[in-house]
Symmetry: C2
Subunit: 259 residues, 2 copies
């Protein structure tokens, strides 16, 4: 058992434990990640951001089950704030991820943008069933697959979105993230999201981009705000790529037992 | 916004944020407690243990909704370990709570006992309905009210116990904690618990005492072990009072933003 330094932070309710380890000397096992992320026996988080210094700072992102993940739109914004507070990066920086180098920018106090790359909307509509209700979804790829459903009002949805209530979709045998959104105004939508392998979450960076891309294309606009249960984010199109912007918060620092 | 020192710990998965404040200078508002205990926007915990020094150390216990509570059987054991690590108490100590002075004792590394007082079993059986299933419960008072149901196997219960599935009980208009238990052997039972105002939890100190008292009386024994989803605890009767024993773990220390 050893003690390691940690910082906890969140972006729109998507929360992370950051482990600063410039020389990559802390080998985090799946079991250790699971314990750190356990909300009763550990610190509790949606994932771990292991900060390693290579030619750039590298975000070694781990899901709460210990598996590696390529990218996380909220995670990298929290990660940028952490590096900025330590004066490891300036207000505009490149950060390495398993999905390639990502550009981040600070937008005043506690707000960061990340270029999420492009989001591709496919032509055909996909049938989605939630309980006894049938919906038509757009299929969107933001590095990972999304099905995006516009509804007249989010109030038609059950109190909790559960994967158990979603029927399999033949065109997506490897699964998908599922978003429902309601248009509040020309440039503002509200959404809820079911993350693949997780369940309903307070926020999802790629899901926000998928919804924004569908809405922006439908309205022929270049930016929109997206409400999620954990807060609000902005998406802007720039040369065909999506820039995700929103607040982040670092809430605690300390030392945690690595059991 | 200010930063305060904290420790996080748990007893059988019941987790707490401990705030050391000997001179009682930190006034924690309901909103601040809610934020600290929020599992995404804060540190996350079932409750806050505010450690204040009076003639004895006093456990100012707060539920995660910010309300005050009298006592918590797992909380006081975690609290004792925290005070012991700081050398504020010895291996046997008295701790003040809103439910009176409680005696705690250390039982080797990371294990503490607390005298929970007496548990009173009432004579009449109470009808409890969970979904379409009807059960007969013993009514037990351990400072707070419990209904205790013995089942042949916990496997008959749904995956998650929900208050929505429990019918009102006319004899208990102010509510109750509800425990289901299965006898594994003469001196070992396994239980699940629905806590009043909360929902299903990994452990509940008074619930463990209520179940143990029912089982010990039925078998005419003086001690038993109780499995809970978060671990295992022991209950021993001593001069008509129940002593609750089990492991605790302090998992992190640091500084947290008090927003």
């Amino acid at each position: 058992m050893s003690r390691i330094a940690f910082t906890k932070g969140h972006g729109t309710g998507n929360d992370f434990i950051i482990i600063l380890d410039p020389e990559n000397q802390i080998a985090l096992s799946e079991q250790q990640i699971q314990r750190l992320c356990d909300r009763h026996f550990g610190m509790g988080a949606d994932g771990v951001l292991h900060a390693v210094q290579e030619s750039l700072w590298f975000m070694d992102y781990r899901n709460r089950d210990g598996s590696v993940a390529e990218m996380c739109g909220n995670g990298i914004r929290v990660f940028a704030e952490f590096l900025y507070r330590h004066e490891f990066i300036s207000e505009s920086a490149q950060i390495g991820t398993r999905a390639g180098v990502k550009h981040v920018e600070r937008n005043g106090a506690d707000s960061w943008s990340v270029n999420m790359g492009n989001a591709q909307i496919f032509a055909e509509w996909i049938d989605v069933k939630l309980g006894n209700d049938a919906f038509k979804a757009r299929s969107v790829n933001v590095g990972n697959p999304h099905l995006v459903v516009e509804v007249a009002s989010l109030s038609v949805l059950p109190a909790t979105l559960l994967w158990n209530d979603v029927a399999d979709v033949p065109s997506h045998p490897e699964g998908f993230n599922l978003e429902f959104y309601e248009v509040l105004s020309e440039s503002l939508v509200s959404m809820r999201v079911l993350e693949r392998g997780v369940g309903e979450t307070l926020s999802c960076g790629t899901g926000v981009c998928a919804v924004a891309q569908v809405h922006m294309q439908a309205r022929n606009i270049g930016a929109c705000e997206v409400k999620v249960p954990g807060g609000q984010l902005m998406v802007q199109e720039s040369s065909g790529e999506l820039v995700l912007t929103g607040s982040v918060e670092l809430i605690a620092d300390g030392f945690v037992e690595l059991t």
